[in-house]
């Protein structure tokens, strides 16, 4: 009986605060968030496939050339983030990741403007609708990631390393998602 009481009070001092939530908890939460985001893009994908199959006037557009450069920018940003995650003081690498993120978003805007100059808008063609939809949905999620990275850059370096464990998951997922979208829209005809 006394032994049980001791066990019961033993862990009374264990903190379980949100901002100090164990890394494991935060990581599980992030994986679940990625599962939900994955389902969102799965739903977009099935819509894409269904619409492509049903629309006799469906025509894939040529890929705007800048998307190739953008892809490399995003891959490079993931590499920088890995550097930041593994370094003891990775602030510079983290800021580089953020800079490359800004470059990617700017590049996506440029791609939109190039398409616009060719007369391709959201409602012009079925493929165009999906192109704008998928790039915008990906871009918005990526910008959310950039806000998280900016917050990560702002905290103390001890905390930063723990935060990076979680934000890096998200960022790499966004990179993989971008490759997948490229493949979906331009790889599979």
């Amino acid at each position: 009986m006394t032994a049980a009481t001791t066990v019961m009070v033993e862990r009374a001092a264990a903190p379980a605060a949100e901002s100090r939530a164990p890394l494991r908890t935060a990581r599980v939460g992030m994986w679940l968030a990625l599962a939900a985001i994955g389902m969102l893009f799965m739903a977009f994908t099935s819509s894409y496939v269904v619409r492509q199959g049903l629309d006799p006037n469906w025509r894939n557009l040529r890929m705007p050339g800048i998307l190739i450069a953008n892809t490399f920018v995003l891959l490079a940003s993931s590499l920088c983030l890995e550097k930041a995650r593994r370094a003891t003081a990775g602030l510079a690498w983290l800021l580089a990741t953020l800079g490359l993120g800004v470059l990617f978003v700017t590049g996506q805007f440029t791609a939109w403007r190039q398409l616009g100059a060719q007369g391709v808008y959201l409602s012009t063609s079925s493929f165009g609708s999906f192109f704008y939809l998928l790039t915008a949905a990906h871009g918005l999620h990526l910008m959310g990631g950039m806000m998280a990275l900016a917050a990560t850059a702002a905290v103390s370096s001890a905390r930063r390393l723990r935060w990076l464990e979680v934000t890096a998951l998200y960022w790499h997922f966004m990179g993989a998602l971008w490759l997948y979208l490229l493949l979906l829209m331009f790889g599979l005809r």
Binding site: M1, A4, V7, M8, V9, E10, R11, A12, A13, A14, P15, A16, A17, E18, S19, R20, A21, P22, R24, T25, V28, G29, L32, A33, A35, A36, I37, M39, L40, M42, A43, F44, S46, S47, V50, R51, L54, D55, P56, N57, W58, L122, S123, S126, S129, L133, A137
Partner: protein, 590 residues
């Protein structure tokens, strides 16, 4: 927001009114906020159903008082069919999203999931607060849709395209009202995702020492499974909502086919697929009905065991059945679309998978009966509502088996038979689950008992009432009465059914009146009810080891350690007829 270093609790108890009751990060306050939101929503939804029932029973009445409040809905005559449709749409939407999703999962789940697994709060308390307030914003936008210029949307809670996609040209309420509807639903999806993520992380990572998976109460298993369903289903509805919004305001044609002529106008859209919306919607929609009912199953299992003073029969089979129902819910959505011209082979696949739901459902039902068998049953109000849940679950489930067969469904599709089926199983069965949870947990939440006598009166009026409302609807459906029609008397073959409509309306009014008993009992008991002890029902799970209401960090200075399963009633050699989950192990088996 960040806790002070060295403080032992999850987060310090807030002192100001706003941080304590409005923008609280305490899961218990958030749970009550969700329940109050659902209580508000259910009253709005109920009022809308009164309008519908008035129109159906007395289609030519002019109701001057109501016409005074809603001049556009009457326009000097009887209620317009468009107004009826908007009431129908908003009733369904508000009930499904803001009552049946909000109360059982977000309400009770928020309050009791952390306590039942021995956690001090959710894994992400701030996110939890955000979930509630985003849900609240979603509700406000939905109420705006109800009062939008041009009327509330009339496309039903399923918002079938192209009706819901083409805009004002298709009729009243399909302009601003429908746009607000889509926005509200999209916001709701986001909030539900956050809730689901929090529930899952909490259950996976914050269980107290000794709280192994097989010691989790079935309520926790039910909320956990429901959260998985929500996490994977709501993103699909969100995707559908985004596409629908783009079709409405962005000029795209995801859902709108070519060559559509609406109200004598030729639309310029081309290439869209109306069926795509149905697939996206029902891929969400079918898991959604289990999101509404699974928490009720968990609560029922918990309560039947507690008041039979017997362990739940076949605990592991119950857990397996919950998971099986959750899994199957993802492969049955096509049974909502048998009329859409799908291939008979596809129909058959969906039909077989749908009927397969009957297997885990039967496992649950028989296990509930076996739990009752030979028990020392205590007929408390929560017990009565749980028994009512079983009754309604069987009544509604049996008709599901009929509708699962394409040959029968093609006859009954879009008739009152379907209305009867889903109201019994996902509407009132889930509501009975909510009531039984409310009567059961009220003493824990507010420190006082609800009045038992009035609770029983409430139960009997509700049980007889809901059967009186929804049983006759089966006959309407078999007689070929289509749903969503504002008036049956205009059709010769439906005219003889009019007395049945009047009967249903009167039954509905009496049942709604009986709910006043609950509301009065609820608020009276908060302040005047008999004081409740720590464990008034002699229950076993962790929430009954802490004061009523529990302190801010649930367990104070004691870290709970679990030594027993959740349903150890009538254990031979134990000093009492129940063993709390935290009772030390030696005391019982010596």
């Amino acid at each position: 927001m960040a806790p002070h270093a060295g403080h032992a609790a999850a987060h310090q108890a807030p002192t100001g009114f706003i941080r304590k009751w409005i923008f609280s990060i305490d899961h218990k306050v958030i749970g009550i906020q969700y329940l109050l939101l659902a209580l508000t929503a259910v009253n709005v939804g109920m009022v809308l159903s009164i309008f519908m029932r008035l129109r159906l029973a007395w289609p030519t009445e002019k109701w001057p008082m109501l016409a005074h409040i809603f001049p556009t809905g009457f326009q000097g005559g009887p209620m317009t069919p468009e107004f009826y449709l908007s009431m129908l749409t908003m009733h369904g939407t508000i009930m499904v999203f803001f009552v049946l999703t909000t109360a059982p999962l977000s309400g009770f789940g928020n309050y009791f999931l952390p306590i039942q697994i021995g956690a001090r709060d959710m894994a992400f308390p701030t996110l939890n607060m955000l979930s509630f307030w985003v849900t609240f914003v979603s509700f406000v936008v939905m109420i705006m849709a109800l009062f939008a210029t041009g009327g509330a949307p009339i496309s039903g809670w399923t918002a079938y395209v192209p009706l819901s996609a083409v805009g004002q040209v298709a009729g009243p309420g399909l302009g601003l009202g429908q746009t607000l509807w889509v926005i509200s639903i999209a916001i709701f999806c986001g909030a539900s995702l956050l809730t689901a993520l929090n529930f899952l992380t909490t259950t996976l990572n914050l269980r107290a020492r000794g709280m192994t998976l097989t010691r989790m109460p079935l309520t926790v298993w039910a909320w956990f499974t429901t959260a998985i369903l929500a996490l994977l289903a709501f993103p699909v509805l969100l995707a559908g909502g985004v596409l629908l919004l783009l079709d409405r305001v962005g000029g795209t044609s995801f859902f709108i086919p070519a060559g559509l002529v609406v109200s004598d106008q030729h639309l310029t859209h081309s290439g869209g697929s109306p069926l795509l919306w149905q697939h996206l919607f029902w891929f969400f929609g079918h898991p959604e009905v289990y999101i509404a009912i699974l928490p009720g199953m968990g609560v029922t299992s918990h309560i039947l065991s507690t008041f039979s003073r017997k362990p739940v029969f076949a605990y592991r089979a119950m857990v397996g059945a919950i998971f099986a129902i959750g899994f199957i819910s993802y492969i049955v959505w096509g049974h909502h679309m048998f009329m859409s011209g799908m291939s008979p082979y596809t129909s058959m696949a969906f039909s077989v998978s749908t009927m397969a739901v009957g297997v885990p459902s039967a496992i649950k039902t028989f296990n509930w009966l076996a739990t009752l068998w030979g028990g020392k049953i205590r007929f408390t109000t929560p017990m009565l509502f749980s028994l009512g849940f079983v009754s309604l679950f069987v009544s509604g489930g049996v008709t599901g088996m009929l509708l699962a067969q394409p040959a029968i469904d093609i006859q009954l599709h879009d008739t009152y038979f379907v209305v009867a089926h889903f109201h019994i199983i996902m509407g009132v069965a889930a509501i009975f689950g909510i009531f039984s949870g409310m009567y059961y947990w009220f003493p824990k939440m507010f420190g006082r008992m609800m009045n038992e006598g009035w609770g029983k009166v409430h139960f009997w009026f509700s049980l007889v009432g809901v059967y009186a409302i929804f049983m006759p609807m089966h006959f309407l459906g078999i007689a070929g009465h289509p749903r969503r029609y504002a008036q049956a008397t205009e059709f010769q073959y439906l005219r003889p059914l009019q007395p049945l409509h009047m009967f249903i309306t009167i039954a509905a009014f009496l049942t709604i009146a009986a709910q006043i008993i609950f509301i009065v009992n609820f608020f009276w008991s908060i302040w005047k009810g008999k004081r409740a002890g720590v464990n008034p029902w002699e229950s076993t799970s962790l929430e009954w080891t802490v004061p009523s209401p529990p302190p801010h960090d649930n367990f104070g200075d004691v870290e709970p350690v679990v030594h027993h399963g959740p349903y150890e009633f009538g254990v031979p050699g134990a000093p009492r007829d129940f063993v709390m989950q935290t009772d030390p192990p030696g005391e019982v088996h010596s």
